[in-house]
């Protein structure tokens, strides 16, 4: 690092980190995301509480031993069950669910016929709590139905395991990845990998967007605060100024990325209590060193690429507000391929979408990150290194060339003229 680059980078970092527009954004990530998780957790626990306090009214019109066993079954499952004689009486009580056991319920079961239970869900709100309460009661009724089924099967075929009659074919799922067998359904593996894959794919994407915003703001502020004119007359090269902006913005973006990941991790932690047991089958494949290196290199190129574009946009904007509206146009083409890649593979997409994805250096870290989870380095990622490097160098060259007041003033003047012409057109049109 030349002796001039250090103070320039220091200036970028200090000025950016002390800017409320930047540091509030960074800090909010470790606050807002866990807060969202906490809110969700609180809501979920409140729902559980609501389930515990939920009252089920059973209108037993059958009055048989079987209908009584049904009521006891629900009570044993921990539900508050109250028994009434008629539906009108049930309606007057504050119940979540009213179950009507019709007359003849028991005899139909005894005759091996389908028997009906009418369940009234008393809708009081559209919150999650009510939904959970209803599903818990529904599950218990289903359990009772299964219990009855097994009892009937025991009676019909004594000595035979009822489960064999109900479900005679057993499936043993084996997922094979790169020749390694895992005794689990792919869905189970995917869900256990969900957290890792989300972090791995989201991290480069988030960093890319964040670094673009920071670089744009950092440069637009120079215009807004009238510091660029002085900066460009100091004894430093345009390349050093650009490099300092790239380094400074990337450091802040990495810091923001770390905070985001901490916040995201805490946010995801609040969901873990809701995950069912037995979903902990992990794929016995870990990312290789090469896949880490390739993803890392592609991420760096992607960040440098968007930072250079951000510097260009910032330099061409007379203030931060204009720069931020321009950066929105830049983020869209970065976001769209990322969203597509998150849900599908490139090869499955239509040709125009494939061309768009391969044309953007920002897509390659995502492609590499997805393969990284399977310990692979796709050939396209290797070509991507060469392509991304070429495009990134081109953008740096253009940004360096344009970082001259002569060109900036001319371009800014042209943009202003275009805007003025547009607003004039709209004014005339509105008249």
């Amino acid at each position: 690092m030349s002796f001039k680059l250090k103070p320039l980078v220091e200036k970028e970092i200090k000025d950016l980190l002390r800017d409320p527009r930047i540091y509030i954004g960074i800090i909010s990530m470790v606050v807002i995301l866990p807060l969202m998780g906490l809110i969700f957790q609180t809501a979920f626990q409140a729902s559980r509480g609501a389930v515990a306090n939920a009252t089920v009214i059973v209108v037993d019109l059958d009055q048989t031993q079987l209908s009584k066993s049904f009521i006891n079954f629900l009570r044993e499952k921990g539900l508050n069950v109250e028994e009434v004689e008629c539906f009108k009486a049930a309606e007057k009580m504050k119940a979540s669910v009213i179950v009507v056991v019709p007359s003849g319920f028991s005899s139909r079961i005894e005759d091996y016929q389908k028997a009906n239970l009418t369940v009234y869900y008393m809708l009081k709100s559209v919150g999650t709590a009510s939904t959970i309460a209803y599903s818990v009661i529904e599950e218990n009724i289903d359990d009772f139905s299964r219990y009855l089924s097994e009892e009937l099967l025991k009676r019909i075929a004594p000595g035979v395991e009822p489960q064999v009659l109900k479900d005679p074919v057993n499936v043993d799922p084996v997922t094979v990845v790169k020749g390694i067998e895992v005794k689990a359904h792919p869905g189970v593996i995917f869900s256990s990998m969900m957290m890792t894959s989300m972090i791995v794919v989201w991290a480069p994407l988030f960093l890319t967007i964040f670094v673009a915003q920071i670089a744009t703001t950092a440069t637009a502020v120079e215009n807004e605060e009238k510091t660029l004119e002085t900066l460009l007359t100091l004894p430093v090269s345009r390349f050093e100024i650009l490099l300092a902006k790239l380094i400074g913005s990337s450091i802040i973006a990495l810091l923001g990325g770390t905070f985001y990941m901490i916040g995201f991790y805490l946010y995801m932690q609040s969901f873990t209590f809701a995950l069912e047991q037995g979903q902990t089958t992990f794929l016995p494949i870990s990312p290789t060193l090469e896949s880490y290196v390739v993803t890392g290199v592609l991420s760096i190129f992607s960040m440098v690429f968007v930072t250079s574009l951000g510097v260009l946009i910032g330099a061409l904007s007379s203030d931060v507000r204009i720069a931020n509206s321009f950066i929105g146009y830049l983020i869209m083409p970065v976001m769209l391929p990322a969203m597509l890649l998150m849900f599908t593979d490139v090869e499955l997409l239509p040709l125009p979408a494939q061309i768009l994805i391969y044309a953007l250096p920002t897509s390659y870290p995502l492609i590499a990150a997805k393969s990284m989870l399977l310990g692979e380095v796709p050939p396209v990622a290797v070509y991507g290194i060469v392509y991304s490097l070429a495009v990134t160098l081109l953008v740096i060259y253009v940004a360096g060339k344009l970082l001259a007041p002569e060109k900036l003033l001319t371009l800014q003047y042209r943009f202003m003229k275009k805007r003025a012409r547009k607003s004039g057109f709209f004014r005339r049109w509105l008249r």
Partner: protein
């Protein structure tokens, strides 16, 4: 030093699209001289200074600073100049001290040189303890004093000052004028400044040039020009040379 003159401007033309901002401007500035470009707003003063500061490229003509061409040897020019734009800003989230320190480190490699430069700048700015406050808390005048300190602390061979006293109160404006003359005399620094305040320039500059609509109409020592046109001050000289400007 490659050339004898501090600044040589020959037949300088600058066009912005169809607008000709400078139309054959020529002048020279001697080493150690304080030279003033005076004229009303939009006369071409800032454009001339921006070309000298390597910010703009001339459409035609030659501009040399201590023998270095401002287009072909812009990097070398930037090492020996220090430029004060009319609307110069400092990084609002840095303190005045941090800003001066960062700029000094771009000019000097040794820690001692940096410290000396910053120490001098703190004195020049007259900001006292406020120099450690963030720039965003400074008044317009304080920001201007910080910028002037930034220009002088590196003791450039050529200081280019665009409206140096803009935004300063009377006493600080007087202080800056004294500073310009003192630095030129004591450090042999060449200064080229612009101003639309002709009375101010009269007291600071050894020589001046009257510029209007991108053309230099007259140049020379203020006293000689006043004598030549039988005027009591430079404002009267300007009116007699150019006429009333509306």
């Amino acid at each position: 030093m490659k050339g004898e003159k501090a600044v040589v401007v020959e037949n300088l033309v600058k066009e912005f699209g169809k607008v000709r901002a400078l139309d054959g401007v020529s002048f020279t500035v001697e080493e150690g001289e304080v030279f003033g470009l005076i004229g009303p707003n939009g006369a071409g003063k800032t454009t001339t200074l921006r070309i000298l500061a390597t910010l703009l490229v001339p459409t035609r003509g030659v501009v040399k600073i201590f023998g270095y061409d401002v287009v072909r040897e812009a990097g070398k020019v930037r090492k020996i100049i220090s430029y004060l734009p009319e609307e110069a800003g400092a990084y609002r989230n840095l303190s005045g001290y941090e800003y001066l320190n960062i700029v000094a480190r771009l000019y000097f490699e040794s820690k001692r040189d940096v410290e000396e430069a910053v120490e001098e700048a703190v004195k020049i700015s007259g900001l006292g303890d406020r120099v450690h406050d963030k720039v965003k808390h400074y008044s317009k005048g304080m920001k201007r004093r910080l910028q002037i300190a930034r220009v002088f602390m590196v003791k450039p061979k050529l200081a280019i000052l665009d409206e140096p006293t803009a935004g300063l109160d009377v006493s600080h404006a007087l202080y800056v004028r004294k500073l310009v003359r003192d630095y030129a005399r004591e450090h042999g620094m060449t200064v080229i400044l612009s101003s639309h305040n002709m009375l101010e320039v009269e007291h600071v500059c050894y020589r001046i040039a009257l510029i209007y609509k991108g053309v230099i109409f007259e140049s020379g020592e203020p006293e000689q020009l006043m004598e030549k046109y039988g005027a009591e001050n430079l404002e009267e000289v300007f009116v007699r040379v150019v006429g009333y400007v509306f």
